[in-house]
Each structure stands twice: as C-alpha cells, then as structure tokens.
C-alpha cells in the first residue's frame, strides 16, 4: 500500500505530540482509524514546505478552509495569533454532520462556518461568505479541494495569498514526478510534495 499524504494539524514540542485530523475515505484511512492507542505507525515526514509566516505581523489575515483542508489551518491560526495578526477564519463543510474543530477554531479567533447544503451556519460556499463580509485583508491562506482553491484564487486575486494544494502522490519526496502542477517559474512546473504543498497563489495554475 502507498503512503497517504496527511497534513500536520497541530504539534506540541514540549510533550512530543503531533496531531493529525483525517476523514475515513478509503482503504488507507480506514486502516489508520482501526489502529489502537499505544500502537506504532510508520511515518515519513515532515515533508515539503508549510506556510511561511516570516514578516506577517500585526496584519489582517483571512484563513479559508474546505473539508479535509481545514486541519493544517489550525496550527497556522495559532501561529498567526502569536504574531499579533487579526485573523478571520472561514471554514466550509459539506453538511452539518461533516463539521469538525468548530469550537477549537472559535477559541482561537473569529470563525465563520458555511455548509454546502445549508444545514448549519451560512448556507453556501466560503466564497459567498467572503463576498458578504466585504472586509479588506492584507493576506489570505487557504487549503481545500481544488475547485474551492481555484474560486478563492480568482476572487482574491488582488490580495497576497498562499494556497496548499492536493494531488495523488507516489513517493512524497520529489523522485517520481507523480504530483506535478503547472507553475509560473523557469521550469514550468512544481512538485507538490517537495516544493509545496503550499505555494504563492500567483505561482501555480490549478
């Protein structure tokens, strides 16, 4: 079985703890969910490059997550807070039953929830929420399904933004060329596993 790419949702260096949050989707995540406390799993990581927050201090920031793209934004918001930024989180889920970490995010910052089917929070997409808020932001950070990222990339094209993107992966370390994405750089592409998964929104073509 191939390894599964999963983001780091949170970590605590003092107690050597790493938190991942995942959705049971197919065979691999189902196996993971059946592991027992105290057991061991084989992990290769951390791999690639996360959100670069150097120089982002005392600014207004919007964080946009969709579904299983929400986890890596949790520690991100913590870090943004510690650098005195004014953070708004907008999290989109399919339905009321698929919501997770609402309270955790609300404990950290001002958070809006949207559901595709309108069963909880705002009835609609994260991009609808952004449109209604009509605030201005210095930066945005986003992770979620490619369709959502594309819409966000388009909607917030005049703001400095960073997106974390997904692709099916083979090796996870840059050797197999499974996870490339077209990019505006001298090579014409990036490898998501090694160069990303976080990229400047202007660098990659989704």
């Amino acid at each position: 079985m191939l390894r599964r790419p999963i983001s780091i949702a949170d970590y605590d260096k003092q107690i050597n703890q790493l938190t991942i949050i995942y959705k049971v989707f197919g065979e691999g995540t189902d196996w993971l969910a059946r592991q027992l406390p105290g057991g061991q799993i084989n992990v290769l990581g951390p791999l690639g490059n996360g959100f670069d927050l150097s120089g982002i201090q005392g600014q207004t920031v919007i964080v946009i997550g969709g579904g299983v793209g929400v986890p890596p934004l949790y520690n991100l918001v913590k870090q943004l807070n510690s650098q005195f930024n004014d953070v708004t989180a907008i999290l989109g889920y399919q339905s009321k039953v698929s919501i997770f970490y609402e309270k955790e995010f609300k404990d950290l910052t001002q958070t809006y929830i949207a559901t595709d089917d309108g069963t909880y929070g705002y009835d609609g997409l994260v991009t609808d929420v952004i449109r209604e808020l009509r605030f201005s932001y210095d930066h945005y950070f986003s992770c979620g399904p490619t369709g959502m990222l594309k819409a966000v990339q388009h909607q917030l094209s005049d703001i400095d933004g960073y997106i974390s993107i997904e692709e099916r992966m083979g090796c996870g370390v840059g050797a197999c060329f499974a996870c490339v994405c077209q990019a505006d750089n001298d090579k014409g592409y990036v490898k998501i596993c090694q160069d990303g998964p976080v990229f400047h929104a202007k660098e990659v073509t989704l």
Binding site: M1, L2, E167, R168, M169, G170, C171, V173, G174, A175, C176, F177, A178, C179, V180, C181, K187, G188, Y189, Q194
Partner: protein, 260 residues
C-alpha cells in the same frame, strides 16, 4: 559474504539497484541512506528535449501495486548531464542512464550524449514505456524495430548497453533474441504492464492518461516467468525488476539468473 556481480563489463559491489523512474536522479533518496551502499543507480529516463509529461492524476493505487502514467517527464538530456549528473559523481556507485525517445534519431542522439558523460557507466535503452504515444513502445513490441534500434545505439556508444524489455508482448523470447543479436550487452526485465483503473465516483478512468503502467508485487510472478523463459535461450546478464520489496524477492530473482 561477497555479493559482487559482473554486469556486462561492469563490476558491482552488490546486485541491488533502484529501477529507473522510481529514484529520480538520486538526490531525494540520498537524505535517507548512503547511496554508496547500492550496487548501481538507474536514473530517470532522458529524452532529447525537456518533456512535461502527462496531465494529473498520474498515479493510482491498485491491488498489490500501482499504475503510473508520468509520461517521461524529464529536463532533457543536456540538462541532465549538466544539472543532475554532477551530484552523482561523489558516490562510488556506477550510474546507469535510461535512454528514451520517440524516433530512432532521438534515441541515438540521447544515447550518444549520455555515453560520453564520464559519470555514466552503462546505458539502459527504454523501448518499453507504455505511457506516451510515442514513447518507444513500438520499438519494444516489434523484434525487427528493436533489432535496428539496438544496433544503431550500440554503434554510437562505447558503454555497456542494456535493453529494457516490455512485458506487453506475446513472445518475450523473440524480443530478447532480437536485441541480443543486435549487440545488447544485457537485458532489463521487466517494464510495467499496461492497465487501467475506473474511478467509481466519476465512472471514468482515474488516471488522466486513461491507461497507466502497472508495477509492484502484482507483476512479480510475470517478471519471474519472463526472465525464466529468456534465460533458457540467452546467456547475457539480466537486470531483474518488478515488485521486489523484500530480501526473499531478491533471492527469487537472483536464483532465476538475473542480476538485480
């Protein structure tokens, strides 16, 4: 225990080497272990010009294996010689360069350039990539074309030449015989088998290229069978591959006659 092997004129410390395309150009895996411990390193296919490969998704997991349709993405032979090979010079491990192309001329040019690079100790002629329309598969399924190509490449290269065979043929023995007669110093067996996976949500092939090459433990019995058949008629060295994941797998291939 002395594990060294003779391979078409090369002496390897041991018979273990990563297969082409599974190891990039070595840099990535050098963070995980010492590349000096390998018998040889087979680098990703080189073509005449840079290739951007196929659209994504390019890989899919299958029962005991995976499909890939990378599409020979590589920066082109000149860039590989200039940018990628220097890194591999520091290791006391011979580099085998995988040669690909869509025409006879392209293969010949790439092979000639790579055979002149001092880091490259042998060539592996990839006539078996199933994932691009013009990826050499026509040379890998027709013994006559395979003979001609091998012969032409042999003429421009002074380094040992291994020809990588495709399992997507009805008669592997005639392919092996043809390239041996054309002057191949050895064979690499096997490349991937063409396969397909359907995404149950979209009801369409999961891989953007639709078909992909099947690799992994699923193809090991086929590799063993083909090597066994070829071994009956040929004495040139065979680099064996296809689903090797454990030391038992290595032994199974080893006792079958090949050299990986």
């Amino acid at each position: 225990m002395n594990l060294s092997v003779q391979l078409g004129g090369l002496t390897l410390k041991n018979p273990v080497m990563p297969a082409s395309g599974c190891f990039g150009f070595g840099q990535e895996f050098s963070q995980f272990y010492d590349l000096n411990t390998l018998g040889a390193i087979v680098i990703k296919a080189a073509t005449g010009e840079a290739r951007f490969g196929n659209p994504t998704p390019r890989v899919a997991e299958t029962s005991s294996g995976m499909l890939n349709a990378i599409g020979l993405q590589n920066p082109g032979v000149d860039q590989i010689i200039k940018q990628e090979l220097p890194f591999l010079e520091q290791f006391d491990t011979p580099v085998i360069a995988n040669v690909a192309g869509s025409s006879e001329e392209e293969y010949v040019i790439v092979a000639e350039k790579l055979s002149k690079a001092s880091t490259v100790k042998a060539l592996e002629l990839n006539i078996s990539c199933p994932n691009v329309k013009e990826g050499g598969i026509q040379f890998g399924t027709d013994p006559e074309l395979a003979y001609q190509l091998t012969n032409k490449v042999k003429n421009v290269s002074s380094k040992p030449l291994f020809v990588k065979l495709s399992p997507n043929v009805t008669n592997i023995v005639s392919m092996a015989k043809a390239v041996e007669e054309a002057g191949a110093d050895g064979l690499s067996m096997i490349n991937t088998l063409t396969g397909m996976k359907i995404d149950l949500k979209t009801r369409k092939p999961l891989i953007a290229n639709e078909t992909g090459g099947l690799s992994g433990p699923a193809i090991k019995p086929i590799a063993i069978r083909m090597i066994h058949q070829v071994r009956q008629v040929s004495n040139i060295p065979i680099i064996g591959m296809g689903g090797i994941t454990t030391s038992e797998d290595v032994l199974e291939f080893y006792w079958q006659g090949p050299t990986q």
